[in-house]
């Protein structure tokens, strides 16, 4: 599981995740996700290269999102593949973390 962060225009922090968000993958990114969430006000989590997610992976999304939200910020998810999105929706994640499949829409949601 790899993690890359990038600062975009408009004060948006983009975090790109790549790999499997299983128990091992979630543990590998948790610290960096929390660090990113510790300063971001607008967080875009790019899931396009995530091939798997389980409940521990969900936790790795929810905890940083809560940190951003507590400071009045926003978090959106970008581009999960079908099965990953099925897991997100089975847990009702989309009710609290909007899912977008186009970058322009994701950026607009954070504006």
């Amino acid at each position: 599981m790899t993690f890359a962060s990038e600062e975009l225009e408009g004060g948006i922090t983009k975090v790109a995740l790549n790999g499997r968000m299983d128990i091992e993958g979630a543990a590998a990114i948790d610290l960096r996700m929390n660090v990113a969430a510790g300063t971001a006000k607008k967080l875009l989590i790019d899931l396009r290269e995530v091939s798997f997610i389980g409940s521990m992976g969900l936790r790795s999304l929810v905890l940083p999102a809560q940190a951003v939200s507590r400071r009045g910020g926003k978090v959106v998810l970008l581009g999960p593949v079908k099965m990953v999105e099925d897991v997100l929706r089975a847990s009702n994640i989309q009710a609290v973390l909007p899912i977008h499949h186009e970058m322009t829409n994701a950026l607009a949601a954070l504006a």
Binding site: R20, D22, I23, E24, F52, G54, S55, M56, L58, R59, V62, L63, A65, Q66, S69, R70, K82, M83, D86, V87, A90, S91, N92, I93, A95, V96, L97
Partner: protein
């Protein structure tokens, strides 16, 4: 239902068995094992995803809750293909634990979410069927896809 002995009904038919010990680190062996089955039995990507997801949730529950994080306890996953059904039988010697009720879905307010607790919901959503049996010493969970 409480079985009197820890029988292994699929032993004679089982095509594959994965033996694990109770640490989360052991679970990295599950996805490659399922991957090998997917190749051998021509399992679709979607079904493979569901199998890996359900096994991760069930097996991590055994390690964290059944064995309370204590290392060194053994448990097994048997696979058999019965017609079109892909059947996985998980057996442990842990305290009784029936994964009967899916947890609540995440509520609509981000700040009220208690992270975790989605594993059983995912299991019941992605498995075709789930059958629990309490053994004389331990648990058996039969998951069909």
């Amino acid at each position: 239902m409480i079985c009197q002995t820890m029988t292994e009904p699929l032993t004679h038919e089982a095509r594959r068995r994965l033996s694990l010990t109770s640490s989360l680190g052991e679970l990295v062996r599950v996805a490659p094992w399922v991957g090998a089955l997917a190749t051998e039995y021509d399992i679709s990507d979607e079904r493979r995803f569901a199998i890996e997801l359900c096994l991760e949730e069930v097996l991590s529950n055994i390690v964290r809750h059944g064995y309370r994080g204590e290392p060194g306890h053994a448990f097994t996953v048997d696979f058999v293909r019965l017609g079109e059904d892909l059947v996985f039988v998980v057996e442990d010697n842990a305290q009784p634990f029936e994964p009967a009720q899916p947890g609540d879905a995440i509520p609509g307010d981000l700040n009220t979410i208690i992270p975790g607790g989605q594993g059983l919901r995912l299991l019941y959503r992605f498995a075709g069927s789930v059958k629990y049996e309490q053994l004389a010493q331990g648990n058996r969970l039969t998951i069909r896809f």
